[in-house]
Symmetry: C2
Subunit: 398 residues, 2 copies
């Protein structure tokens, strides 16, 4: 007697979590130290001390009824202003509190935006390989997913395919930059071409197409690279952000969304978002976490840790003959499976106690995701297992 939608959600349910559970089962069998689990994107670098200190200070200093009470559904005005100021400093934008809504992470933000935009049957365009939850978020609001192929050399989106698939039903286009699972950063050129294509199609269809830029991995970029801030390229852009990865606090459920004043029908959209944040059940982002992140906007966890892992595993695996686009951000990399059916490769890897996630989950069959947010020494210990796996497939060392 449950809904058809949830039955579909259950049957699609996360291959990522499934692999994580398989990893745990294997660990019980052969010992935790003998399993090389690269399945889950769970941050493993310490929470910045400033965050802990901020929490303790806030709890001690503030009146408890104020601290744990209701505020505007959009969040504390001073927190929203602090977020706006920080974005302005970093990205030369001109936001104020009126452009920001504090949310229950990026997942909360995206659901609130889709609730505001989507009538049943509207299309959400995503770029493969895409974060598998976008399909579920879209399903919540009875939208239909439209999947654009990547250029398999660069893992930038195939913009010719995008142009073919844009339609009058396209309500929004989702960008995740840097990309989970490929680790690629969409270049400024890619962004400019996407923006100009959308401008053209808006004109042609006579209505808005919204861009949603989901940026939970914004701070996890390497080699001095940065991601473009999309409101500067296209006015109908929402930005969604989570502090989960940058501060290693995914359990705390805190993030925000940005809506530029230049957006079409700004007032209606903003009012809709504030109401949607309330009625979808979030009410408001957790009060204490709002105040704590406001004091840590310039803090980052140890990004160099992830960078060291990235370099080690990328060089080791490509050295063994595996093929992989070079990751520039996030803590993921996307290996080409040495055989066409990557699920068979995953089974083979599991025999060497290596746990990976299939690319089909991200709409890219033939690839596997490896999450290298793991202790460095585990990563080191996994390399002989990868070498044995490469040998099994007859890969040639570089």
């Amino acid at each position: 007697m449950v809904s058809k939608q949830i039955l579909e959600d259950i049957s699609n349910s996360s291959a990522i979590r499934a692999m994580f559970i398989e990893g745990k089962a294997l660990a019980e069998e052969v010992g935790r130290e003998n399993v090389f689990d690269f399945s889950l994107g769970n941050p493993c670098t310490p929470v910045p001390e400033a965050y802990t200190r901020a929490m303790l200070e806030i709890i001690r200093e503030e009146d408890s009824l104020e601290l744990h009470g209701y505020m505007d559904n959009t969040g504390y005005p001073e927190v929203r202003k602090a977020v706006a100021d920080s974005l302005n400093r970093r990205f030369k934008t001109r936001f104020d509190a009126g452009n920001i809504i504090m949310t229950v992470g990026a997942a909360g933000a995206i659901n609130v935006i889709l609730k505001v935009l989507f009538d049943p049957g509207d299309e959400l365009m995503v770029f493969a390989p895409y974060f598998t939850e976008y399909r579920n978020y879209c399903g919540n609001w009875r939208g239909v997913l439209s999947v654009v192929e990547p250029d398999y050399e660069t893992f930038q989106p195939d913009l010719a395919d995008m142009e073919r698939k844009l339609s009058p039903k396209t309500k929004a286009v989702m960008i995740n930059n840097p990309v989970n699972p490929s680790g690629v950063i969409y270049s400024e050129e890619t962004i400019q071409r996407i923006a100009s294509l959308l401008e053209q199609k808006q004109q042609e269809y006579g209505h808005e197409i919204y861009l949603i830029s989901d940026e939970p991995y914004r701070e996890l970029v390497f080699d001095g690279k940065t991601t473009p801030f999309l409101t500067k390229y296209y006015r109908n852009t929402f930005v969604t952000y989570s502090f989960s990865k940058a501060l290693s606090i995914p359990g705390d459920r805190i993030g925000y969304l940005v809506v530029p004043k230049e957006m079409a029908d700004f007032d209606t959209v903003f009012q809709g978002l504030a109401i949607a944040n309330r009625i979808t059940g979030f009410i408001n982002a957790p009060a204490l976490m709002q105040k704590a992140v406001a004091r840590c906007l310039e803090e980052k966890t140890d990004v160099d840790f992830y960078d060291r892992n990235r370099k080690r595993i990328y060089e080791a695996l490509t050295g063994l003959g595996f093929s992989c686009v070079k990751p520039e951000g996030t803590f993921y990399m996307f290996l080409k499976s040495p055989e066409p059916d990557e699920k068979k490769f995953i089974e083979a890897a599991k025999k060497h106690h290596i746990i990976l996630v299939n690319g089909t989950t991200f709409a890219c069959p033939g690839y596997v995701r490896l999450a290298y947010c793991v202790p460095y020494e585990m990563l080191e210990r996994s390399l002989p297992a990868f070498a044995a796996l490469a040998a099994e497939y007859g890969l040639k060392s570089a």
Copy 2:
């Protein structure tokens, strides 16, 4: 270009918040001390010290990566077990961790349940006067609301009307006990009659009808009364709970839902709820708040404070000739408007600087809600204004 649903949500948007904003505007005009604002259900009794102490201890003691990390989407197993144990002690139930999911408040819990149950067009039955957000939660999942009239003498539901309105499309029935906005407790007899009616209709229709018992005010009951625990009366019952009112922590967004093992298709329902909690964007209830409430399950804020307010305002207003069902729980009372159009009465009250919320919002035109979660001395100071209002309507003092 926003969705039709959000346009409807905007136009229905909370009269409660609107009155709260009017109250603030009036306060700026005539001075805050001269406004008697009874619009908002914002707890005003202190947060128990045990909660603050628990938070500080947990932050100091626990490894920060563990404390702020992901856990199962259903919540920490030990927190879920603590909730189950506490319910078992109080209500002689037999729950374990496997019956409990920690949620982002009761609002989160209800949305997760409706997402699992509802196909578009399914009906949610509510009892007037009902908490206005139920309409919005139902709209999120494209359900249709079916509203049962109260018995206007007792404000228990009119069960003959319920029987008339139950239909094969009825997917779930929502109970809020004690009731926001009437303050009434549904008696055990009412519950038994509802349960037996639902059993009969399940039989007749050949499918389940679910009961959702929303209990954020469970601890705010007076005169030694208690509310029945509904899983004991009807097996297809979900219970939703929030700590917002009992601990005065509405900004913290923490609650839980209960699913009894006896529920039809328990495994599918529970799996659906766990997935829905993730994909609707909550992911999990805020980690720190889960751990903090687990240490405060037997704590309550100062319920006697609300009781003192209740007695004072109920006796004063009925003494002035106003008519009102006697509140037994919550911190609301539901006055009969002395003129048929309660919106005119609200305007008249506003001239005396009294801020109330119209009953139409709760599907009970001709009544107004008064939230007495206010400082006692403000309540005292409001009484001459109520006396003047009563005189204006020619009400007779008792």
